[in-house]
Amino acid sequence: MLDAEFFRRWMTATAAAVDREATRLTELDSPIGDADHGSNLRRGFTAVATVLEKEAPGTPGAVLVLAGRQLISTVGGASGPLYGTLLRRTGKELGDAPEVSAEQLAAALRAGVEAVTKLGGAVPGDKTMVDALDPAVAALATSFSAAARAAAAGAEATVPLIARKGRASYLGERSIGHQDPGATSSALLIAALAEAAGEDGAGA
C-alpha cells in the first residue's frame, strides 16, 4: 500500500528530476516553443517540494491536491494549469484514504489524464504531454517501471509528429523532428513515480 510519505517522495523525486533536466527541457522548448519549459517547471516543483515539507499533508489525496494547487499558483503558461489539473484531479480521485493501492493510483491517474485531455483538448498523437501520459497509465497495470518505460518511449515517439496543440502548433510541419518538451517532462514525472516506488525509473 502507498501512503502519504510515498506521494511526498514522488513529488520530491520529480522536483529533483526537473531541476536536473531543466536545461534540457528548455533546450527542447527552443526550436518549437519559447524556451522556458525547464525554468517554469523548476520554479513550480521547487515550490511544491517546499509547501509539502511545510504543510505535511497526511493522506495521498491531500498531497497531490496541494501539489496541484501549488503548480497552478506558481507555474503559469499552459503547463501550470495542465500539470496542476493532473495532480489535483488524481488527488481528488484518491479521496481521503490514508493509504491507497497501486491499482487505485492507476485508476486515479487515469482520471487525472482524462482531466488534462479535457482541459487542453489534446488527443494522443498531437505531440503533447498526453503522448507520454496515456501509454504510462496503460502500462501502470504492469508495474511502475513499465509505466516509466512507456512514458519515455511515448516522449521519444513525439519526434516525427506534427504539433496540433499549444505554441508548437503554429509551426505546422516545421515542428516535425523535435521531441515535445511537455511529453518529456511528463516522462520525468512518471520516472519519478517508479523511483519513489524503489523501481528503476529507466530514465526519460
Binding site: D34, A35, D36, G76, A78, P81, S169, Y170, R174
Partner: protein, 330 residues
C-alpha cells in the same frame, strides 16, 4: 548574449520595482505581480484587466491608467500569469460594475484567465472575457491553437478602456472589445530571433541574409523563411497578407509596431512603405501609431495591424488616455 540584468530569475521583479519607482500614479505590487491604477476602483466604472507573459513591454503594464487598463498582470517572460494574479487584480479594480478580462489567444493565457474568472465569480465579481486573435499568419486554425493575439491587443485595450471611462456598462464594453478584435488583423516579420533571459541565447536560428515571415510575439519562428527583402517588399507582403483576410470598407487605425530591436529610423522608413502600399490599395487611414508597443524582447522586425473603425470607435480612439506608454488629450 549580454543582457542588462542582475540574474535571470529576478528580471520580472526588477522591472516591476523600476515601474514602481518611475510611475507613482500606479500601484505596483512587486510580490504579487499586479499593476493597478492608483485611483482604482473608480466609482461606477467597469474594470479592465489584462495580462500575459512579460517580454512584450510596454504591453500590458505600460497601458495601465486613465482611459485604458485598470490593471495588468505580468507573468514570467513569455509565460502567462497565474490565476491568483488575475483574481487579485479583479478584486482591486471592481467597483461593483464588473470586470472585463482581455486575453490574448494563447493556450496558457486562456487556461489561466478561465480559472481566474471562475475564482473571481466565486468571490462575487462579475467577469466577462474577450479573446484577442488578430494574427493572420496562422492560417490553419483547425490544427493549431488558433490565431494569436498580437498588435490588436493595443487597440482593444485603448478602445474598450475609453468606453469604460465613459461609464458604459460591462456588456457594452465587452461588445466594443469584441468588435475591435473582429475588425483587426496583424502580420509580423522577424529579422532576428530574440533571446530569453532564461536561455540567454537566441530562441531560434535565423541565418544572415534571411527573414522569417508570419512570426508571433514569443520568439517562436514563423511559418515561412525567405531571402532578405527590402522594406518596401516587406510592407507589400504584410499588407497584402492582411488584405487577403479582411478587406476594410471603412477607414482604419494603423499600428506600425517595432518588435523591440528595430531602430525607429528603420521603423519610420517601413511606415512610409506601408503607407504607400495602403494608398495603392485604396485603404484610407484615419489614425496612425508608430513605435515599439507590442514587442518580443530584443527581436528585430516589425508588425502591421489594421483595425477597421466606425465613428464611435474613432471617437473612443481620440478620447483622452494617460498611461506610461500611451498618452494624449490629458
Amino acid at each position: 548574449m549580454k543582457m542588462l540584468i542582475n540574474v535571470a530569475e529576478t528580471v520580472v521583479a526588477d522591472a516591476l520595482r523600476g515601474m514602481a519607482a518611475a510611475h507613482p500614479e500606479l500601484t505596483v505590487d512587486v510580490e504579487n505581480r499586479v499593476i493597478v491604477r492608483r485611483d482604482a476602483p473608480v466609482a461606477d466604472k467597469v474594470g479592465l484587466v489584462s495580462g500575459g507573459g512579460s517580454g512584450h513591454e510596454p504591453l500590458h503594464g505600460g497601458f495601465v491608467g486613465r482611459g485604458m487598463l485598470s490593471a495588468a498582470c505580468p507573468g514570467e517572460v513569455f509565460t502567462s500569469p497565474v490565476p491568483d494574479q488575475m483574481v487579485r487584480a479583479a478584486a482591486a479594480v471592481d467597483s461593483g460594475q464588473g470586470v472585463l478580462f482581455i486575453v490574448k489567444n494563447y493556450t496558457g493565457d486562456v487556461m489561466n484567465f478561465d480559472m481566474a474568472a471562475e475564482l473571481a465569480e466565486d468571490e462575487g465579481i462579475q467577469v466577462a472575457k474577450v479573446l484577442v486573435n488578430d494574427d493572420v499568419a496562422v492560417t490553419d486554425s483547425l490544427y493549431t491553437a488558433g490565431r494569436r493575439g498580437t498588435g490588436a491587443t493595443l487597440f482593444v485595450e485603448k478602445l474598450a478602456g475609453a468606453a469604460a471611462e465613459e461609464g458604459m456598462p460591462l456588456e457594452r464594453v465587452e461588445a466594443i472589445a469584441r468588435q475591435v478584435n473582429e475588425n483587426s488583423r496583424s502580420f509580423g516579420v522577424a529579422l532576428s530571433a530574440c533571446s530569453t533571459p532564461a536561455k540567454g541565447s537566441p530562441t531560434f536560428d535565423l541565418p544572415a541574409g534571411q527573414l522569417e515571415l508570419g512570426i508571433g510575439i514569443h520568439g517562436e519562428p514563423g511559418r515561412e523563411r525567405r531571402a532578405m527583402m527590402t522594406s518596401g517588399e516587406i510592407a507589400e507582403f504584410a499588407v497584402d497578407a492582411i488584405l487577403d483576410d479582411m478587406r476594410p470598407n471603412n477607414p482604419v487605425l494603423l499600428l506600425v509596431n517595432g518588435m523591440g530591436a528595430t531602430p525607429l529610423l528603420e521603423l519610420y522608413g517601413f511606415h512610409a512603405e506601408v503607407t504607400r502600399v495602403l494608398a495603392a490599395r485604396d485603404i484610407a487611414v484615419a489614425r496612425v501609431l508608430v513605435g515599439n508597443y507590442v514587442t518580443s524582447l530584443d527581436m528585430a522586425g516589425a508588425s502591421v495591424t489594421l483595425c477597421q473603425i466606425d465613428e464611435e470607435l474613432l471617437r473612443l480612439w481620440d478620447a483622452p488616455v494617460r498611461t506610461p506608454a500611451l498618452r494624449w488629450g490629458i
